[in-house]
């Protein structure tokens, strides 16, 4: 039996997952917790958020994230790509900056819009 804290939403349910009973989850307050408990034990994933170097906007950085959770094991691979990236305004919220980043199945998207007026 493994104890986990569900991170899907801020309620943070204290889940119990039974590895010996086909990852049966208890302690959840909604169905997403069951899925999380199973995934966390078998193939954990995380949304990665960071920033990339931004030019031509009068600001230094554009915030970015993966469009969906990526395998936890790929987190640093994603970050390595992100850290080498430079983009130029204009950028719009949701714009795909790197499709299928690190082969994770998720895209890297901008999470804020910048009109290209700055220097």
């Amino acid at each position: 039996m493994k104890e986990l804290i569900c991170i899907v939403c801020p309620r943070g349910c204290h889940l119990k997952v039974d590895e010996n009973d086909d990852y049966k989850v208890t302690g959840h307050r909604c169905a997403r917790g069951v899925l999380y408990g199973y995934q966390e034990m078998t193939a954990p994933t995380r949304v990665v958020t960071s920033t990339v170097v931004l030019e031509n906007a009068g600001e230094e950085r554009c915030p970015v994230r993966t469009s969906q959770a990526v395998p936890k094991a790929k987190m640093f691979e994603v970050i390595d790509i992100v850290r080498k990236l430079k983009i130029s305004a204009p950028v719009s919220l949701g714009q795909v900056l790197v499709p299928d980043i690190a082969g994770s199945g998720a895209d890297l998207i901008a999470t804020r819009s910048f009109s290209g007026t700055g220097n």
Binding site: V52, V53, R83, K84, L85, K86
Partner: protein, 478 residues
């Protein structure tokens, strides 16, 4: 060849530099740190003492009372804040009451104006937050408060503008008399001067010993403080001392120029004269003793702890002496050194004159300075300031309402700031309740932009106190 070299840019060095800048003299002024006022002058009680403490008839008494008398006009001249709050020495029992009487006698003998012993009711009427158990107090109407670093900067800026050659980041390491002048060596420069004024605070003893025979010994004595948020009750309006007694000098509670409450200092003998740490034990002692004066002090509203180190010596006196070959010690300037500073400067000039220094007034000397402080202006003035320069409409420090305009003026002032704390001393940005949490990053940005240097080169305070390490994606910048 300089006529005079002043070592140390605390309040004493600054007062002397200001005073001597009136004359046709070539003056060198060395300071080891990257700004003025980084020694004892920046961390103390900031009180202009009335002058009943020093022994009757002593030189320290004379310098204190005279300095305190000169203080308001000097502050006015260099546009530094001064507030005449008056002070109360509190008595808690009969023995204290007799101490009050002897303090009054001593003060009267020292020429302290207007001293008055108050009874319990009169005292409580002046200061309602006091411990109701007090039995009386000594009221000294001439006491006041200042911002020591601000006054030092004011004096120093005038001195520099009037031609004094201030060299920061110059630590005097060796000093030697050669034929007819002093040879002064810092870590990377050599200077020559006919006379030397040693105002090096904790560093004064070392310099003295190279120049002449040992004559005094410094005993660095640290004092710790609480600084409580402004607008928090209970507030006090006078400087409140406790009676000196067998348990020491007591802890004071005082308002500050910015409306905070300052509480301290204890007294702890330490090894390193630059160790301005605070300790659990010291702060606990301060809090416990201060509650005796004002029981309801809210230490939970503390915004900063700090400590300062007094340049005390083996006897309760300054060490001021004119030696052979034009070497003047202004050393062991312990409390009430701030209060006495204006008088010490005049006394130093007299000693130098007696030693043969010729002083001829310079024409056109201007001893005044003006600082534009947005928050202190009327609504009409504020409007005019922003109209003339939009930078005054950009508030950088939200706690003290300091604008970008003021910060830019500070950057262009006679002693250019190189650190965030230097901006704080010049403008007040970062002195408020968030202690620079909000404005720090913004000031850093302005400094880096205006000085044209990378943010990684901007300092918090002394050299080595870098704030950021630079761009976190250096590999993708060209």
């Amino acid at each position: 060849m300089y006529d005079i070299a002043i070592i140390g840019a605390g309040i004493i060095g600054a007062s002397v530099a200001y005073e001597l800048s009136r004359y046709r003299l070539k003056i060198l002024w060395l300071e080891k740190e990257n700004d003025v006022s980084l020694g004892a002058t920046r961390a103390n009680s900031a009180i202009v003492h009335a002058g009943y403490d020093p022994p009757a008839g002593s030189r320290m008494a004379r310098l204190n009372v005279e300095g305190t008398r000169l203080m308001p006009a000097l502050c006015e001249a260099v546009d530094a804040h001064y507030k005449n709050t008056g002070s109360l020495v509190l008595a808690f029992d009969e023995r204290d009451r007799s101490t009050l009487r002897s303090l009054k006698e001593q003060g009267d003998a020292n020429g302290v104006p207007g001293l008055q012993v108050l009874n319990r009711e009169e005292t409580l009427a002046r200061e309602p937050a006091l411990n109701p158990d007090i039995v009386g107090s000594l009221y000294a109407p001439s006491a006041g408060i200042i911002l020591p670093w601000e006054l030092t900067l004011g004096l120093a800026e005038v001195a520099v503008r009037e031609g004094v050659d201030l060299r920061l980041r110059q630590e005097l390491q060796t000093i030697r008399y050669e034929a007819d002048h002093w040879k002064l060596e810092t870590q990377n420069e050599t200077y020559q001067a006919r006379r030397v004024i040693n105002a090096a605070g904790q560093g004064a003893e070392k310099i003295h010993r190279q120049a002449t025979e040992p004559a005094f010994h410094l005993l660095p004595t640290r004092g710790e403080y609480y600084l409580l948020d402004k607008a928090v009750d209970p507030q006090v309006s006078h400087v409140l001392f406790q009676c000196p007694g067998p348990l020491g000098k007591g802890i004071l509670v005082t308002p500050t120029i910015h409306g905070n409450t300052l509480i301290g200092p204890n007294a702890e003998l330490i090894e390193d004269g630059e160790d301005t740490s605070t300790t659990y034990a010291g702060l606990a002692e301060v809090a416990q003793k201060a509650r005796r004066s004002v029981p309801n002090l809210r230490f939970g509203e503390n915004i900063r702890h700090f400590s300062g180190v007094r340049a005390n010596r083996e006897v309760d006196d300054f060490y001021i002496a004119m030696h052979d070959k034009g070497f003047l010690d202004l050393a062991a300037i312990k409390s009430p050194g701030l209060s006495a500073a204006p008088a010490i400067a005049l006394y130093a000039r007299e000693l130098l004159e007696a030693d043969g220094l010729e002083v001829q007034p310079r024409e056109g000397w201007n001893g005044r300075r003006k600082v534009r402080r947005f928050a202190e202006r009327s609504p009409e003035d504020k409007a005019a300031m922003v109209d003339a320069n939009p930078a005054f409409g950009r508030v950088i420090c939200r706690c003290q309402t300091i604008t970008e305009g003021e910060i830019l003026e500070a950057i262009r002032s006679p002693i250019p700031p190189v650190s965030i704390d230097a901006i704080k001393r010049r403008t007040g940005a970062g002195l408020g309740r968030c202690q620079g949490g909000f404005c720090g990053p913004r000031v850093l940005e302005i400094l880096s932009r205006e000085l044209g240097v990378d943010p990684a080169e901007i300092l918090q305070d002394k050299d080595g106190s870098y704030i950021v390490l630079g761009d976190n994606r250096p590999e993708v910048r060209i």
